[in-house]
Structure formats: C-alpha cells, structure tokens
Subunit: 159 residues, 2 copies
DNA sequence: CCATATTTGTTTCCTAGTAAACAAAATGCG
DNA sequence: CGCATTTTGTTTACTAGGAAACAAATATGG
C-alpha cells in the first residue's frame, strides 16, 4: 500500500477551500503539467525552454521582453532562460541596429533542428483530449477559461 | 505608457500553445492568485500559511502528512511551513502516543484568534464570482474542472 | 540641444515547491 | 521473536519564477 493514511485523507475537511476556483485551478494545473511530462518528458527539455524553442520557430527575431510578456513570465526569468538556451547553442541573440537595448532571438541550426523534432510531439499532445472530459466538454472548459481571462481569440496569437 | 511594445505583443504567434489547456490553466491560475491577493493580501500572510491556519480550524489534530496530501503539496514543503508557523507561535505540534513518528497539528490561542479573523475574509473571497463570468458560468467552470480532475464531490472534503 | 524620464535587459536575492537521501518509528513476515 | 520493509517527517540541494535595484540606451519635454 502506498498510503497508509489514504483513508484518513478522505476525511480532511477542505472547507472553505475544497470548491474554490483557485484551488481547483491549482489542482488542474498540476495535473496538466503531469500530462505534459507524460507526453513530452522523454524529450528531456524543461517545459519553459521547450516553449521558447517551439515559439521561436514561428516568431524568429522576436524581442525577448515581448516573448516574456506574451508568456506572462517576467523579463528577469526570460533573461535566465535566454542565457541557458544560448549556452546550450540552441538560440542566437542579436541586438538590432535601431534599438541597441533590445535583444532579438533566433534559433540556431541546432535549435531549428530541435524545434522540428519537438513540433509533432507538441501538436500531438495538444490534440489529445484529457481522458476524463469529452471533446465537447474540453471545448467548453477552454471557452470558459478564455472568458474568465477576458481573452477572445482562440487562435495562436496573444489577445 | 507602461508598455512601449504593447502593440508588438499582439503579434506574437503563440501557436501551438495559445489555445492549449495547460497554457490557459497557467494564465487562469496567475489571475486567480492576483484575485486572492487583491482580496486577502492586506492580511499579510503567505497564501500557503493562510490555507493551513484556516484548515486547522476545521481539522484540529490532523497529521501534517495528511494535510500535505490533501493540499497536493509534498511533505518536505509542508515540513517547512509547519516549522515557520510553529516559530511564529501560531500552531503547536503534538506527537501522538500511538505513533511517535507522526505529528499532529493544533492551532495555538494566537493561531485560533488569527483563524477567526481570516475566516470571514476567506469566505467573502470565495463567494465573489470573477467579474468576467456569470455565476452560472462559474459553476460550469468549476464542474468541468472537477470532472477533469475526476473529483466528484463539491463539498469541503477531499475526494 | 540638454536634462530627465522611460524602456530593456541583467543581476541579486527571495519565495514556493520538488526530489533525493536520510533517521526514527512502526509494521510484517519468516 | 528478529530482521526487512514501509511509513513519517526532516534536511539538503535543486528548479521555476518574482521583486527590486541597477546600467545602458532611448525618448521626451523644456
């Protein structure tokens, strides 16, 4: 038995958090993260880095601050990922002529090769509906999350 | 202007992540976290600690491992919170006679006083529907999240 | 044109949480 | 009983990410 206290856990009264939206969202994100790893963990790349690599394929030359904002992570954190990906030889930083504060990001050859390898796995993962929801329910869930977030656009673009 | 590149952000092509469930969940959790802080930030207590204090009011003597499992955090992390809350004089650790590995948690007087002060704020926060969703939509969203998570029980108890 | 303010990215320190190795207690099986 | 296994909690080292202070470059208002 993995959990001696399995029976006891059932009796923790989670009120007033058990049905809170924030709590459900946290659990759902943990679960979704596990799904992500189950499908893509074999690629042994961190989720954030995988995201940047794949997005750079469709957005060559994007400024790292813009990418950070689109992904809702802070510039400070993006700077660290950019450094790591640069040291790994997967991306190239380029300072544009017209604004020498900025940094534009491009995939290196190695990065582009990796991106081509990642894309089908990512696409397959996205297409897979969670086992506990029907496709219609998944669509409704996504629609409500977008509405909650005041996003209107189901395409691959930021709001 | 806070964001010079605001216009540029709109043109980051987020495909294939822009409509991914995992991405939407991440954004939603960030938003929900901000809502939590907007309502409860003035209590200057960390969210995790607030959760433990309020839950201990309804679950006196719960074992810390059981509480960790119910909240889906690891025991290692719960151990740190327990130590911090103990040092702050808010909870008391008690080793039961019949199992001297275990630790049962109780609120101290100071902890109970704090819990009484927190409870109405938490209740009010939970009752508040997000501005972008109708109450019916919020209910549907929660129901779908519970189904996604394979939880059946909308009460304040773990599944 | 020049001083001031803002933007961009980086660094440093911090928080939340995980993973792995561990010790002590309890359980189980010969 | 006695030894191996499991459970419970802790410690240490790590990852993801944020906050604040900073420097360089650019924009702006006089």
């Amino acid at each position: 038995m993995a959990e001696t206290q399995g029976a006891t856990v059932d009796r923790v009264r989670l009120a007033p958090f058990g049905d809170a939206l924030g709590f459900l969202l946290r659990l759902a994100q943990i679960d979704s993260f596990e799904r992500f790893f189950a499908d893509l963990g074999h690629l042994d790349l961190r989720p954030g880095e995988l995201t940047v690599i794949v997005l750079l394929e469709g957005n060559p030359g994007v400024r790292q601050g813009v990418l950070a904002e689109a992904l809702k992570i802070k510039r400070a954190h993006m700077a660290k990922m950019v450094r790591a990906l640069g040291e790994a030889g997967l991306i190239r930083r380029e300072v544009p002529e017209d604004d020498r504060r900025a940094v534009e990001l491009y995939l290196t050859e190695a990065g582009a090769t990796l991106a081509r390898r990642l894309r089908p796995a990512v696409t397959a993962h996205e297409a897979r509906t969670p086992a506990t929801l029907t496709p219609a329910e998944t669509a409704t869930l996504k629609r409500l999350l977008r509405k909650y977030l005041a996003l209107t656009d189901p395409e691959g673009t930021t709001p």
